[in-house]
Structures are given as C-alpha cells and as structure tokens.
Symmetry: C2
Subunit: 298 residues, 2 copies
C-alpha cells in the first residue's frame, strides 16, 4: 500500500465531513453567530495532518469496519484536538502567534472569540458523538462508552491536566529546575498520548472490536502517542526551538541525548507495531503509520 495516498484519501473524507457540519449549520441561518462559526472553521481548515481522525478510521478498518462507520467519531476527535490547540495557543498559555503558517485564532479573532471558539468545538464535539447514533446502526451503549472514554482522556486527569502540567514544567524550566524523564513521560502521555489512544479505541469500539482487540489497540496507541511526541521534540530541536526568552524548554532531548531520544522513538514505534501481532493485513495502515510517525520530517 502507498501510505501517502491512504493518508490523503482519509484526510479528504474527514475534511468533507467537517465541511458538511458547517454547511448544515449555515443553512440554518445562524446569522448572529457567523463570527463564531468562522473562528471555529478558521482553526479546523486548512487541515493539518488529521493524524488523530485518520487513526480512528485505520483502527476501524483493523477490526473489519469501514471509514464511513466512524466518520462522525473521527470528526469529533479532530474538533477536540483543534479546541485544545486554540486554547493552548492563548496568551495566558503558550502565547503562540502562529500555527501551521498562519496567525493563531486569538491573533486573528481576538482572545474572547478564540476562547469561545474552543469552548464551542469541544461542546459540539460531544453533540456530534451523540448525534452519530442517528446515522450509525450501533448499540447506543457503545456511544456512551466512547463519550465516557473521550471525556476521561481529555478531562482533568487527562489532556487538560497535561496542559496545566506543561505550563508548570515550563515555569520550573525558567527557575532552572530540572524536569526528569518519568515526569516528562507522564506529561506527554496525558497531553498528547491520551487523545491519540482514545481516537484509536473509539474507532475500534464502534466497529465491534472484542475486548482483546481494544486492549491490543490501546497498547498500540499508548506507544504511538508517546513516539509521536518524542519525534515532535526531536523536530523542535532540529529547528533550534527554544522558549521565547531563549531558555531550553523541557523535552526528551534536553533530558536524554539526541541519540538516546531517537533510539527511544524507534523502540516506541516497534512496541506499537508489536501490539498489532494478532491483527491481519487490515491493520497494515496502522503499522505503516507507526513507521511514518518516527520517520517524518515535520
């Protein structure tokens, strides 16, 4: 299989599904809220890699399902990812002015609108998940289980807690206080890993995965999510990324050596692939994505 074609095809399906959501809302003449929808749309498009929703689709396929079965779930995952980026970029948080080569949401629309656009994306994502019951012929219990999974993965002890830890670690770096390896791994698992993991298990659960399959895919997701963040660290170092004041931010290469960090990313990818032992070639996209994650240059 050609991974790049696979990724492009899925990305295009996800983009279309997200565009449909906005088109349907517009047709309901939401005039007074036009600015809010514009701000939400602005950060969703043009798309990034759409890695998380693609993983939802690939996990669905790995257990014998199809992308069409999980598109609403994939969209909800991407809406949650996008909300987290908008809020992380805010002046009170990471204070980033650019993302994906264009001004961040608050730079373009102002802070109030950016906060609300993020709030709306996460709120609508849960609506999306519940509405999917109308189009997908799946037991309603499964949707509730997925909503619970996503809430926990992205909640106070998950992604949101991870973001607060990230800020706290950056403060410690300012004070020249070291962050150790287990601490940074703990942070990355919550901040990045959790959503990647739940993107995968949700896709599988919707398509009738057995508990053993869900467990294996969760192990794949844990390792993949961490590998993804480790490689992000490596790429940031190649870009000579530093804090705004030139200080070294906590990252794997600032704790391990660069060689050790690269070694670690390859180990994680291998473990992710090993977790898929029990799956046939329908899981090949997941395997190839694991390779891609550690080989990518951006």
């Amino acid at each position: 299989m050609k991974l790049n074609i696979y990724l492009e095809t899925k990305k295009s399906l996800i983009d279309n599904a997200l565009e449909t959501f906005f088109a349907e809302r517009k047709s309901k003449k939401e005039g007074p809220f036009a600015l809010l929808y514009e701000a939400m749309h602005y950060s969703l498009f043009p798309s990034g890699k759409r890695l998380r929703p693609i993983l939802t689709c690939a996990a669905a396929e790995a257990v014998g399902g199809q992308t069409e079965d999980v598109l609403p779930i994939a969209c909800a995952i991407e809406m949650i990812h996008t909300y987290s980026l908008i809020h992380d970029d805010l002046p009170a948080m990471d204070d980033d002015d650019y993302r994906r080569g264009k001004p961040t949401n608050h730079v373009k629309f102002g802070e109030a609108t950016a906060i609300l656009a993020g709030d709306a994306l996460v709120t609508e994502a849960f609506g999306f998940l519940s509405q999917a019951r109308k189009t997908l012929k799946i037991a309603p219990e499964i949707f509730l289980e997925i909503i619970e999974d996503i809430s926990l993965a992205c909640g106070a002890s998950g992604m949101i807690g991870g973001q607060l830890l990230d800020i706290q670690f950056q403060e410690r770096a300012k004070e020249a206080e070291d962050v150790n390896y287990p601490e940074l791994e703990f942070l990355y698992i919550r901040k990045t890993g959790n959503l990647i993991l739940v993107a995968i298990t949700s896709g599988a659960k919707i398509c009738g995965a057995t508990p053993a399959q869900v467990k294996a895919l969760a192990r794949y997701g844990e390792n993949l999510g961490l590998a993804f963040q480790v490689v992000d660290d490596i790429l940031d170092v190649h870009d000579n990324y530093k804090g705004p004041d030139g200080r070294k931010l906590p990252s794997f290469p600032s704790i391990l050596s660069m060689d050790e960090t690269k070694q670690r990313s390859r180990e994680l990818a291998s473990r992710a692939i090993e977790a898929l032992q029990g799956f046939d070639k329908k899981a090949d996209p997941l395997r190839e994505i694991a390779h891609y994650i550690v080989e990518r240059k951006q």
Copy 2:
C-alpha cells in the same frame, strides 16, 4: 410547601453529589493535577443558588420521578454552568474580579488555570452524563438524547454564541449604538435561557416524561429562563450597576421602562406557570420557583 426548605434540601443533595465526585477523584491519587481540581472545586463551592440543578430535580418530580434519579444529570448541568461563569469572568471577556463575594477563578489561580478549569468542567460534565448510565436504570438512548440536547443548548448557536453576542452588544454600547428589544431577548434566550430550559427537559426525560410533558416543560423553561434574566437586569439596576467606564450596558430596563420591565417579568412567570396546567401538585415546586424567580431580591 415551604419553598425555602425545598430549595435547601435539594441544594444540599446536589452539593453532596458534587463533593463525592471530587472525593472519588482525589482517592485516585491525582497528585499532579491537584491544582486543577482545586480550581474546579473553588468555583463550584460554596454554592450559589444551584437553581439549574434544582430545576432538574423539580422537573423530574413533576413527571413522577425522584431527585435520586437525576442527581448525576443535575451535577453535570451545574458543572457546565460553573464553567461558563469561569470563562465569562476572564479578562478577555467580562473581566470580573469578584463573584459571589470572592475573587474570581483567574484572580485566584491565574488565567491559564482558570481557562483549563473551565475546560475540565465542561469535559467532565459530558463524562458525568455518560457515566450515569451505570447507576440509573434508563434506556441508553435517553442519555444520548440528553447529551445532544445539552450540547446544542450550550454550543455555538446556544449559550456560547450568546456569550459572544453579549460581548458584541457591549461593544456596541460603547459606540452608543442601541440594542433593541428583540435583539436583547434573542441574546438572553441563548446565553441564560438555553441552559435553564435543558436543565428542566433533561430531568423530565430521564424520568420518562411523555413528549407532551417535555413540550409543556420546555415552554415553562423558556419563559422561566427569560424571566430569570429580566429580574437579574432589574436587580442590577437597583444596584446601580454600570459598565466599568460608567456606560449603560444593554439591559431590559435600558430599553423598556423599569415598570414595563417588572410587568414583563411577571408576565413571563405567569406564562411559565400556565404551561404547567396539565400537571398535578407534583409540579408545585416548579410553580413556586417561578414565583420565587420574580420576587427574589438577589
């Protein structure tokens, strides 16, 4: 019935249920996230009137259910209300330093933590709603319907859109541009009314309300929500509330006369009570709450 005893009893049940949530999370040793949970807890306690979750309980009783049947739903509604207050108070929004007589969340914990505490409350609220399936013996479809209702009521075309409109109307007031009556009503229905309405219909739906009952309770909720906001406006005027720069903020008494505004609040309460015609005395708390809403002095 004595309404004040009724309100106190319900409030205490809701407070206990919310405290249990925090106690359970703490027992899982969420050490690194202690600050986040503290910030969430700070804005939930000590409690305000708990009007919305009490309405959830009262609506449940009106259709023959019990408070115990809807406590998780009531808690989720209060968590969403609290998140909306934390975000509304932020410097980029209404920039309020005090709420309920104590420093607002961002004044106490800093902006980053306040934004994340709000994010966590709304995310955990949806988790709460889905987890309720484990304790309440109700068809899972109903939970999904309620999650959809709440997402729509609080989403981009609902509460969040209303908050953005509020900010836009305040900007217009700065430019001395009038906001007219239908515009303000449109705003209030979204910003305040929607969550009150869905608090009521959710409680009723969980307890097996018929479609006709849900419709009547929605009419009650629409009128009650608007009455609540109109009375808020009246009380603000009595406090001589003005914008930070002394300008008159858009409000009912700034568009209608004070007499007309009071008349309007009584009409809305009457309409709310009329909507309950088909209900027996089990709906008395809802009727009394409508009286209380327009008679309250704070």
